[in-house]
């Protein structure tokens, strides 16, 4: 039992330092793992300290709840496949937001609704942001897990409904700050915020998920920070805000990588803006040329330089290990193999990096867009595996295209381009890709994994 607030404060300070150092260590792959361990130490200190706060009881409930949560977390984290990481991150993000909202509700109840204005503000914000994060993350999870369609789900007047719902929730928040004491106020606020969270993520297409997930991550951090104000806890304020800052920064980076404003990502319902102009262009007589694995194998084996451009298609097919094997085979034949990583390829920030790391591709072989783009003109073969919109030259040339202005990988500047794709269906953004009509482009249709396996055996026998 510790009753001296200074001792508690100091212990929390130690855990704050651990969290800051953890984030610092994350800036290099060499120390990153140590960083996570340090974060773990910080968390244990914070938990241990809190358990020593004077007056803590209900031990049986605490232990049972912790046991249930641990089993859920452990099983989830252990059993999930690497390709399912984005939805797992979304899920763990959501439960954190839910916890913050519930804490706000409990505190409101404890005070019987009699709050000073700053307590009211913190409780209202924590309940609002936490609930949005909870339901929003669950919808993001469902979309990524393909429990609901990954395509944007829209209906007329959606934005009006959303603004109304959020407006009423905000008004309730103001009422709580102003001193409304009825519990109905906070309960209604939470229900509306939960509803808003669902409505807010539903219309967002799969390709924009990296932005949404980092935004929801920021939300949960901010909600945690707000509960810190309610509970007068420095560690909650600081740790929550660190996450809030990090999530905000990542969100801005992702939006910038697509050359779109955050508002456009969130409320633009991407994919609905298909223009007639870019449709018509597909019918000007140029056709798509399909090829066979054997032809591609020969092309690859005799190339000097190959750049692999992975996308979500590789993730879905779980082809990363086979891609690496193919690259190894080519390297043994003296081919220079590099990977080009677009910042928004996949469904979360850095998604491709994690998958390729899982397949033991050394990170020194992965190149970011700005590093690799000048190299495409000297590249013999650009091998596009399940990537679409991030290679679409319309982003540079067609002002009518919804992705116009988005920085892309300049694969069309390579001497030849091979696109591995399941079918001619357009990508998540629902836009035709000019690249496929380029005379230098050949298409290898089929599941990415099967195609790569065919390529491996063809390269081996050639």
């Amino acid at each position: 039992m510790i009753s001296d607030p200074d001792v508690l404060g100091l212990l929390y300070l130690v855990s704050i330092v651990c969290f800051v150092l953890a984030l610092r260590f994350l800036s290099s792959p060499k120390h990153a793992r140590r960083g996570n361990w340090l974060g773990g130490v910080g968390m244990l200190i914070a938990i241990g300290t809190t358990l020593l706060v004077e007056g803590i009881s209900n031990w049986a409930l605490i232990v049972i709840a912790a046991a249930i949560g641990s089993v859920v977390g452990l099983v989830g984290a252990r059993r999930v496949k690497m390709t399912a990481m984005p939805q797992m991150v979304a899920l763990f993000n959501g439960v954190g937001g839910g916890a913050a909202a519930l804490i706000a509700l409990a505190e409101f109840h404890e005070h019987g609704g009699v709050l000073t204005w700053d307590e009211g503000l913190s409780i209202a914000l924590s309940a609002l942001i936490g609930s949005i994060s909870f339901s929003g993350s669950l919808v993001a999870f469902a979309k990524l897990q393909e429990l609901v369609s990954g395509r944007p789900i829209v209906f007329p007047g959606q934005n009006v409904v959303n603004i109304l719902v959020l407006g009423v929730a905000a008004a309730l928040g103001v009422a709580i700050v102003a001193g409304v004491e009825g519990q109905w106020a906070i309960v209604t606020l939470i229900v509306l915020a939960l509803f808003f969270g669902v409505m807010f993520v539903l219309p967002i297409g799969g390709a924009d998920m990296p932005v949404v997930i980092s935004l929801l991550n920021a939300f949960t951090g901010l909600a945690a920070s707000a509960t810190g104000f309610v509970l007068d806890s420095t560690v909650l304020i600081v740790a929550g805000m660190l996450v809030g800052a990090s999530g905000t920064l990542l969100t801005l980076l992702m939006a910038k990588a697509m050359n779109r404003s955050i508002a456009n990502v969130l409320f633009g319902a991407f994919g609905q803006v298909q223009t007639g102009a870019s449709q018509a262009r597909a019918d000007d007589g140029r056709t798509v040329r399909a090829t066979t694995a054997d032809d591609v194998a020969v092309q690859l084996s005799f190339a000097r330089k190959v750049v692999v451009v992975p996308g979500y298609g590789m993730a879905v097919a779980q082809a990363q290990h086979d891609v690496r094997q193919l690259a190894d085979l080519l390297e043994e034949r003296g081919v220079d193999v590099k990977y080009a990583i677009h910042p928004v390829a996949g469904r979360m920030p850095g998604h491709m990096n994690v998958l390729l790391a899982e397949a033991n591709v050394p990170y020194t072989q992965l190149f970011e867009m700005d590093e690799i783009n000048p190299e495409f003109p000297q590249t013999d073969v650009a091998l596009v595996i399940g990537a679409n919109d991030v290679t679409n030259p319309a982003a540079r040339s067609d002002p009518g295209s919804p992705i116009y202005g988005m920085p892309i990988l300049d694969v069309d500047k390579a001497a030849s381009i091979i696109v591995m794709k399941r079918s001619m269906n357009p990508g998540f953004a629902g836009i035709d890709n000019e690249l496929y009509l380029d005379p230098k482009t050949t298409m290898l249709f089929g599941d990415a994994k099967e195609s790569v396996l065919k390529l491996i055996s063809a390269v081996k026998s050639s």
Binding site: L23, A32, L51, G55, A239
Partner: protein, 104 residues
Amino acid sequence: MTGDLTFVIELTILVLAAFLGFEVISKVPTMLHTPLMSGTNFIHGIVIVGAILVLGLADDTFTKTIGFVAMVLATANVVGGWFVTDRMLEMFKRRPEPKKDDER
């Protein structure tokens, strides 16, 4: 519950933490953005401190129930977030075996 901080002092801490967060995070390379998200995901599991305070100091059934659920969610956040991050980071290695780097 770590003493009586005034709102303004707490706000000061918040703003400084925001700047610190931006500063530290802007150094993280794109390659590590997924582990960063997952790692910060783990760190916001710090709401577990709030959950313990609510549940541990609760005396009526309503607060106990809410606190219990919050505790389950927060623990899942902490445990799941940490192990997912650790699994990801385990994979970030340099060349697995020292070979063929010297070919060119």
